[in-house]
Symmetry: C2
Subunit: 223 residues, 2 copies
């Protein structure tokens, strides 16, 4: 009983802070994207590729979430993009309070996109609204096509899915048909991008979509 009450209160507090973040992000006109995946699905590599294409065209920022290390933030820093590291010290997800603090430390006030790289986990991050505009799930072909059915909440909530390591598809038993069918049932409106962080395949389609979303925001079509 007490446990349930606690969780409700924690999630309630998070919702309040997420609303504050969302309101601030709207006011600043920044597109905030929450990237979620299993450990090792390739979020950081995809971010590096995305920065390579978009840097110069858009003003970017990155908030990195990790249990203890700043390895991913160091990789992003090498790209010359503003990055802020959150260490959760063992917690399995980011929350809206952490993002509010990180944003205030990171922002120069004129970013077009801020990417949040969540802790590698397909369960906990799905339950915590960060105030983001878009939720994007990265999963790799090597994880198997059954993941949407096994972790339905995170796939159900996403606006886009990046199916990564598409270059390894021929070496796996991953069924694209079954994956697409399951995803379509769970989340018919989700966009699916087939990409490879390693080879760069499909990254252009993904970044062109991002450019389109930012353009629409700028001319106020999203409001």
């Amino acid at each position: 009983m007490v446990q349930i009450k606690m969780e409700s209160n924690l999630l309630g507090a998070n919702e309040m802070l997420a609303r504050q973040n969302r309101s601030l992000f709207e006011q600043k006109g920044v597109l905030v994207i929450n990237l979620m995946s299993s450990p090792g699905s390739g979020k950081t590599t995809i971010l590096e590729r995305t920065i390579d294409v978009l840097d110069g065209q858009l003003k970017l920022g990155v908030i990195e979430g990790d249990l203890y290390t700043d390895q991913d933030a160091q990789r992003i820093d090498k790209k010359g993009v503003q990055v802020f590291q959150i260490n959760t010290e063992g917690a399995c997800h980011l929350d809206a309070g952490m993002i509010g603090t990180a944003y205030k430390r990171l922002t120069t006030g004129n970013e077009d996109i801020i990417f949040i790289e969540n802790v590698g986990n397909l369960v906990c991050p799905a339950e915590f609204d960060l105030g983001e505009e878009l939720r994007v799930v990265v999963m790799s072909t090597t994880e198997g096509n059954d993941k949407p059915l096994k972790y339905p909440l995170i796939f159900h909530q996403a606006q886009a899915i990046l199916l990564n390591k598409i270059d390894l598809l021929p070496y796996t038993d991953f069924s694209l048909d079954r994956f697409s069918d399951d995803l379509a049932r769970l989340n018919p409106s989700a966009l699916l991008f087939k990409v490879s962080g390693r080879t760069g395949e499909g990254i252009k389609t993904w970044t062109e979509w991002l450019l389109g979303v930012v353009d629409k925001k700028k001319i106020g079509l999203n409001n």
Copy 2:
């Protein structure tokens, strides 16, 4: 403050139930193994391969943990091995209470090994003792060699690591040297098995080790 107190109590209750499980498993002489990994690392496929080799030589049982589905349990059931499905309904790990209940429902009283397949997650399962004798982490080469440093607790606690999808190593940037060095620093006594659930490579070395552990238990060397 309240949150911390709650977590202490929850973990405290879990510790008590884990001790009860451990005592029961010792009394029954059964080797209980807690298999943990990211989603899609290949735990179920490795279990299928392991059953193929050991079934007939040993009496096996499997407890499957999953958020909502029983897909993995169905795969194990096809192998003709006694299996019990736990659905956590969204929770990111199994706990000792669930395992105690599952064991009582599953057991015929004469198993040599019971495998517990935990929820796919490198964070939460590490914090919950199930009363197991061995903790085994499965990770795949496609997840990248940085995982031990990024998820240190689960790697630090493990008696054995199964590095899966070794057949995909040539197609990745995974550094075996860096992985082995990091693991050796974090957990010098952990055994490392390089395996492929897909091709069967390395499974014999792993199952021979398991047979050895069971033999030692039978002649009382572990007590």
